[in-house]
Every structure is written in structure tokens, then in C-alpha cells.
């Protein structure tokens, strides 16, 4: 034998015995999962009916008047189920309706449950809890969410920061934090910046005036465009002349999203940008948005040194063809 026979035998024995144990464990786990599914199936029909009834009941109460929503008939439903239902309804209503849903959640003990979930070891649960807490204006929510601003998972930090925007008292600290946390400089933090621009435009403007790394600057520009912050348009237009191509592109896109007259100048400059990729994008934007005012500049791009830009220019001119001959002015 080339190896120690007793060692080989011992290893072999360990392997097949371990295999048998693992197979048994695996089969047992599957059996448990199948049985769990069977039980769920038996419960599912009843739960679906109760969920629909609960949904109808809450919606009817929401429509009726400004009185508090009655939790009595819902108290026996599982907490997970109610948290999900209230979250779903909170996406559909605003202002007073949300406050009443929050009150209902509080009376059903869901707020405590969500605060508990913020301490879960699973980042998914922490993130969902942070997001769902945005409708609760209770005092204990602010410190709990603020703690999450230092969570090890970046998406959880972003969700907590976005939820905290609903609490006016938390905003000053939050803005200081936003300057320091690299998670809030990522493209994934777009919802945070958009919500900040919508809810606290003055704070957004103050932050916009301070220097920021390129990625955050790009996200803020997109957020300003998406949130319709028209009064920032002159400053955004200034960014369209930035030495950084990503910022130039984001600024022009933001101006186009704002449908601001300055967008035409920015797009016109982008048509002659030193970066071929930006010129190609500008050409496509002119074609897609049917900006007849830039027809001359677009025609010039047919002689662009870059073949991709030339191709896109021909395509954009084709798109503009009908509008140009009809004398249309597109969406401007």
C-alpha cells in the first residue's frame, strides 16, 4: 500500500460515516421544510381572506374621517403580516393618512417590534425596519435610527438616513453625518438626496454649495433634477462647465430633467465636449427630445471625428426629420 493502511482505512471510515450523517440531516431538513410548507398551505387561504378583510377595513376607516383607526379587529393577526400591510398602505397615502396609519401601528405594538428589528443580526431586517419607521414621528425613533447611521452595512445606513429626514430635529446632525459617511456618496444613496431635496430644499442647497467628491456631486445633481429644484438651475448650469466629464454630464441631464431654458446652452456645449462619449449622449438626447433649436449644432456632428458620434448624429437627424419638416418644436 502506498499510504499507511490504517490511516487510509480510518479516513475512509470517517468519509462514509460523515456522508451518511449528512444525508440523514439533509433529508430531515427537507422533510421539515415540506411539512412547514404544508402547514402554510393549510393556513394560507384563511390568511389571505383575513388580509383582504383587514385591508378593506383600514382603507374604509382611512376614507371615513379623521378619527383614529380601530385596532380591535386586527389585534389577532400576526405582527409580520400587519407590518407589511401598514407599509403597503403607507405607500398609497400621504400626510394625515400616514399619521393615522402610524397611530394604528403604535396601538398594535408594531412600532416596538420595528425598533426591535433594528437590532437584528440580519441586515435585511434592519434595513426594512429602518425604511418602515419613516412614518413614525415618535421620539424614540430618532435615537434608534441615529444609531443605525453607524451600521456596518451601507444600505442600512442609507435607509436610516432617508428615514430620519422625516424628523426635523434630526436633520442638522444628519447633514453633518452626510458629509462624512462615504455610503451617502454612493449612487445607491440617490433616494436620500432626492428626498432631502424634496423635503428640505434649503438644507439641500446649503450642502450643494459645499465641495463634494465627484460621485456625490453626480448623485446630488441627479437628485436636484428629479426633485424639480428649479431655483438651483443657475448653479447646476455652472457645474455643466466642470472639468470632470461625469459632473458635466450629470449637470446637463439635471437641467434637461428640470426642463430649464439653460439646458439648451448646456446641451449645446456638450455637443462639442472633448469626450466622444458625452458628445454621443448629447446627440442622442437632442434626437430623443426632438430639440429643433439645436438642429444646426446636430448637423455639425455629422462631421465629428468619432464614428460613433457621427452614427448617432445621423440617427438623431432621422428622428428629428419629421418634426423638422413639420416645423414642430418638440417638448421645449
Amino acid at each position: 500500500m502506498i499510504a499507511n493502511p490504517s490511516l487510509v482505512e480510518a479516513v475512509s471510515r470517517v468519509i462514509w460515516q460523515l456522508a451518511l450523517v449528512l444525508v440523514l440531516i439533509g433529508l430531515l431538513v427537507v422533510l421539515v421544510l415540506v411539512l412547514r410548507r404544508l402547514l402554510e398551505e393549510l393556513r394560507r387561504d384563511g390568511l389571505t381572506r383575513r388580509r383582504e378583510a383587514a385591508r378593506r377595513l383600514i382603507l374604509a376607516q382611512l376614507r371615513r374621517s379623521a378619527t383614529a383607526l380601530e385596532p380591535d379587529t386586527l389585534a389577532d393577526l400576526p405582527a409580520d403580516f400587519l407590518i407589511e400591510l401598514i407599509d403597503e398602505l403607507a405607500q398609497m397615502v400621504r400626510g394625515e393618512g400616514r399619521a393615522r396609519l402610524a397611530e394604528l401601528g403604535r396601538r398594535l405594538g408594531l412600532l416596538d417590534r420595528l425598533l426591535e428589528d433594528l437590532r437584528s443580526w440580519r441586515p435585511g431586517l434592519r434595513l426594512e425596519a429602518a425604511r418602515r419607521l419613516s412614518i413614525y414621528r415618535d421620539e424614540e425613533v430618532v435615537p434608534a435610527l441615529s444609531e443605525l447611521l453607524f451600521d456596518r452595512a451601507a444600505p442600512v445606513r442609507i435607509a436610516a438616513a432617508t428615514a430620519l429626514l422625516a424628523h426635523r430635529t434630526a436633520v442638522p446632525d444628519l447633514l453633518r453625518h452626510a458629509r462624512l459617511d462615504p455610503a451617502l456618496s454612493r449612487p445607491a444613496a440617490f433616494p436620500f438626496w432626492q428626498r432631502l431635496a424634496e423635503l428640505r430644499p434649503e438644507s439641500f442647497e446649503r450642502l450643494f454649495a459645499t465641495p463634494a467628491p465627484t460621485v456625490r456631486r453626480v448623485v446630488m445633481l441627479k437628485a436636484a433634477g428629479a426633485a424639480g429644484l428649479t431655483r438651483l438651475a443657475p448653479r447646476i448650469a455652472a457645474e455643466a462647465g466642470s472639468p470632470d466629464p461625469a459632473i458635466r454630464r450629470a449637470a446637463t441631464t439635471a437641467l434637461l430633467d428640470l426642463k430649464h431654458p439653460l439646458a439648451l446652452d448646456a446641451l449645446s456645449r456638450m455637443l462639442t465636449d472633448p469626450e466622444p462619449r458625452l458628445r454621443a449622449e448629447a446627440v442622442m438626447a437632442v434626437g430623443r427630445r426632438k430639440l429643433i433649436a439645436l438642429l444646426g449644432a446636430l448637423r455639425d456632428r455629422r462631421d465629428d471625428p468619432d464614428p460613433g458620434v457621427r452614427f448617432r448624429a445621423e440617427e438623431a437627424l432621422l428622428r428629428l426629420g419629421a418634426a423638422a419638416t413639420a416645423g414642430g418644436t418638440g417638448d421645449r
Binding site: 471510515r13 435585511g124 440617490f190
Partner: protein, 473 residues
């Protein structure tokens, strides 16, 4: 038999047995490591957002996207596929169907059903491909364009599509596959979160056989009725839910399925598009992207997201399945040979030293060694050259651990994704996960070896691929 010959034979038997056992242990250790990593990835990932929340979050941030669908003799399924693609939930996208010189009525069907009108442009990007005859745009839906070109293969058709694409990203999809309505939104998430660094994202491919389809969408998840398709259901689950998720978490993802993958157009243009020299163009492109980025020291990310689902029809007879698997294996070997300098090299990071080493072990070494084991281990034992415990260990490594890995993938699926709606489905899949180790696994090994031989013989091309329509709801 004389004593020296017998001794030599005995030595050979023992050496081979040790090799079979060592490779078996390495293979199973790797599987268990992947399973543990996939489990860790599943439980620590952010929660799956509902489609509406996803739309709200991405509607302003999602980059423009072109869905490119190469079509070759797809008359049976093309209309349904294109309608489903046009109805995808995404803020800014176009669909480019590339009719790759079909011999059937694919183009005619597209022309009549989508009111196509010829345009004066032709794809003019930097990628080379077979000559294009014409580009059409749909009058009914201007987001649909069709390139009619001479046959050049799937990679060639994709290159033509990339040249014409307007999107910042492009999605390579198969004409005989069905994307879930929110699949683009889900797959684009990493591009939005990771910014310019994210250059490619893959999603899960699942078996559509047996699932009723309406309007190009799978309306109910069911199991296939044919046993062969059931076996492939478990196989796909193992490959996507377990292996790809684990490799992605380890930063070593080396393949994005050709049936559904999203790429940053600029990055693919920089590496020269799809290679027409291999039938494994999906694997080859991802390897080339890794290589290009690593050799230039650029920061990049290639991601996998389990939720965006693409449904595909799998072969239901052995001959078609054998052809497909032999082609896949040949493609893998062609790609490995083209990028052999990446294998096991730290310079190429986790994809090189881990991803490709694992691929070589699981797809190249293990099938041959395992096949040798099937042939020789029982013989050696019968001749008294091996201990019974040794034989039992080999059987355990080959069959019992195989069952554990398949069942483990099923458990992962059930714990986190739960795509199969009924308890009965789970029970059937558990049974199939056990049975696949007795017969099907050996057949799959045989096809890998055949693929190996086909590669050594220098075989080229895709071979015949029969098309079937989806089951209508």
C-alpha cells in the same frame, strides 16, 4: 500473473484509487464551501424590494438600456418573446432583435406583427460582424428595432446589436427565453448602486418547461412533467442559487449566462465585444472583461443577483440534451484555453486563482477522474486490491455527498427564494435531488468527456437546435 506484474498492477490500482478519492474530497469540499458561502450571502443580503418600491427608487437613476435578442429560426416563439420584452418594466429601454439570417419566417413574422418599416441606417459601431442587410423600426412601437443580417452566429448577432444599441447598458437575452416583468429593474440595481465600476450583472435562469405562459410571461410556477426536465430544474437551481451566488460573494464570478445578462456597453466595446471563435461566448466575454480590467489595474465589479429571473425551455430528450451539454463543455474548454494564463494566477485576483481553478477542477479534472472511478473502483475491489472501507468512502463521495449538495441547494432555495409555490413541488424536487445522482450525474459526466473530445478534435459551430413553443395558459 507473475509477482512483479501483479505488484505493479496493485500499485497502479492504489495510486488511481488515491487519485479518485483525493479529487472526490477536493470536489466535495469545494461544493460545501460554495454552499456555506451561498447561505451566508443569502442571509446577509439586503431584503428583496417590491417591484413598486424598486421602480420608485430607480425611475430617475436607472441608466438607459438596450435589450439585444439574437434570433435564428425562432418563428415559433419570436412574437411572444418580443411582446413580453416590450412590456418589461423599465423607465428607458429599447429592444433590438437581430435576425441572424434565419431560414424560416422569423423576419416576416416580425414585419407583419410589429409593422416594421425600413430605416436608412445600418449598425456602425466599432465591432465587426457579418454584413447587415437592413435595419427596421416598428411603427407600432418605436422602441423596437430589428436588424436583418447574414448568418454569423449568436456572438456575431450580439455584436451587431451592440453596435446599434443606444443604451448605456445592454441586456443580452435569448429569443426563446422569457424575462420576468421586473427583471431589468432588479438586475440594474447593482449598476445604480455601484456606479461606473459595475460592468456586468447576471440573473437567475430557471426551467420554464411545464409552466403555463400567457402574453410572454410565466403566469404560474409549475414543475416540468418530463423527468429529464425535472432533473435539469435541480441542476439549474444548484448552478444559480448555490454556485453563482457563492462565486459572486467571493468576488470570483466567472460566467454570466448567455440567456440573461446585463453589461455596460462601453466596457464591452473596450474589450472588443463577443468572440465569434467560441460557442461559449458568454463565459469567454466575462473572462475577457476580468482579464482586461485586471491587466490595467482598473477597479470593477461583476455581480450576480438571484431575483431577476429568466425562464428558459430545456431539452426534453436525451439527444438534444447531449448536444447542448457537449456544446457547453466545448465552449467552456475553448474559453479556458483562450484565457489559460489566468488559471490559478493571483495577478487575476479571485476570478483567476479561485474561480477558474474551481472550474478546472469541477469541469475538467473531476469528470475524467470520476469516470475512471466508475469503471475501475468496483473492479479493483472485486479483485481484492482495495479495502471495503475504501470502496464505501468512494461511494459516499460520489453518491451520498452528491445527494447532500443537491438537497442543500434545494434547502437554500426554499429558505430564501421560495419560487416553487406548493409543498408537493418541494417534495418532488427533493426526490429528484436524490435520484439525479444515480444515472443522470454519470450521463452528465459522459457528456463532459464527449465535449472534451469534441474540443480536442477541433469541432466548431452550434449544431442543430430544435425550437418548441411555450405551454399556453
Amino acid at each position: 500473473m507473475t509477482a512483479p506484474v501483479w505488484t505493479a498492477f496493485l500499485l497502479f490500482a492504489q495510486l488511481l484509487a488515491m487519485l479518485v478519492l483525493t479529487v472526490g474530497i477536493a470536489q466535495n469540499l469545494l461544493y460545501f464551501a460554495l454552499m456555506a458561502t451561498a447561505l451566508w450571502a443569502m442571509v446577509t443580503r439586503p431584503p428583496v424590494r417590491r417591484t413598486r418600491a424598486l421602480w420608485t427608487g430607480l425611475v430617475d437613476a436607472a441608466p438607459s438600456l438596450s435589450v439585444i435578442v439574437p434570433a435564428y429560426d425562432e418563428e415559433l416563439t419570436i412574437e411572444e418573446s418580443v411582446r413580453a420584452l416590450l412590456a418589461l418594466q423599465y423607465p428607458d429601454f429599447e429592444v433590438i432583435v437581430v435576425n441572424d439570417g434565419s431560414r424560416d419566417g422569423t423576419l416576416e413574422r416580425l414585419k407583419t406583427r410589429f409593422a416594421l418599416e425600413p430605416e436608412d441606417t445600418l449598425p456602425a459601431g466599432p465591432l465587426s460582424h457579418a454584413p447587415c442587410r437592413r435595419v427596421y423600426r416598428s411603427v407600432d412601437n418605436p422602441a423596437l428595432r430589428v436588424i436583418d443580417k447574414e448568418n454569423g452566429g449568436k456572438a456575431d448577432a450580439l455584436n451587431a446589436g451592440i453596435n446599434l444599441a443606444e443604451g448605456e447598458l445592454f441586456c443580452a437575452a435569448d429569443a426563446d427565453s422569457l424575462l420576468e416583468a421586473d427583471s431589468l429593474l432588479r438586475a440594474v440595481q447593482p449598476f445604480v448602486e455601484g456606479g461606473e465600476e459595475t460592468i456586468a450583472v447576471g440573473g437567475t435562469v430557471r426551467v420554464a418547461n411545464g409552466c403555463p405562459v400567457r402574453g410572454g410571461r410565466v403566469v404560474e410556477v409549475r414543475l416540468p412533467t418530463r423527468f429529464l426536465a425535472l432533473l435539469q430544474t435541480v441542476e439549474y437551481m444548484r448552478a444559480f442559487t448555490m454556485a453563482r451566488l457563492a462565486f459572486e460573494r467571493l468576488g470570483a464570478l466567472f460566467i454570466i449566462s448567455g440567456a440573461f445578462g446585463i453589461f455596460r456597453r462601453q466596457a464591452v466595446l473596450e474589450v472588443g465585444g463577443y468572440s465569434t471563435a467560441t460557442v461559449g461566448e458568454d463565459l469567454e466575454l466575462v473572462l475577457r472583461l476580468h482579464r482586461f480590467m485586471r491587466e490595467r489595474g482598473r477597479r470593477y465589479a461583476i455581480r450576480f443577483v438571484p431575483e431577476p429571473v429568466c425562464w428558459t425551455q430545456v431539452p426534453e430528450n436525451l439527444a438534444a440534451l447531449a448536444r447542448q451539454r457537449i456544446r457547453w463543455h466545448r465552449g467552456a474548454l475553448e474559453s479556458l484555453a483562450a484565457h489559460r494564463r489566468m488559471i490559478g494566477r493571483r495577478r487575476y485576483g479571485a476570478p483567476g486563482w479561485l474561480g477558474l481553478t474551481a472550474l478546472v477542477l469541477l469541469d475538467v479534472v473531476a469528470p475524467a477522474v470520476e469516470a475512471a472511478g466508475y469503471l475501475l473502483m468496483p473492479v479493483f475491489w472485486a479483485l481484492g486490491m482495495l479495502d471495503t472501507s475504501f470502496l464505501l468512502a468512494w461511494l459516499a463521495l460520489t453518491f451520498a455527498f452528491g445527494v447532500v449538495v443537491s438537497v442543500g441547494a434545494l434547502v437554500l432555495e426554499e429558505m430564501e427564494l421560495r419560487r416553487f409555490p406548493r409543498a408537493g413541488h418541494l417534495a418532488i424536487l427533493a426526490l429528484v435531488a436524490i435520484l439525479e445522482n444515480f444515472g443522470y450525474r454519470q450521463l452528465a459526466n459522459l457528456w463532459r468527456i464527449a465535449g472534451h473530445l469534441a474540443w480536442l478534435r477541433g469541432m466548431r459551430g452550434w449544431g442543430r437546435q430544435p425550437r418548441r413553443a411555450f405551454v399556453r395558459a
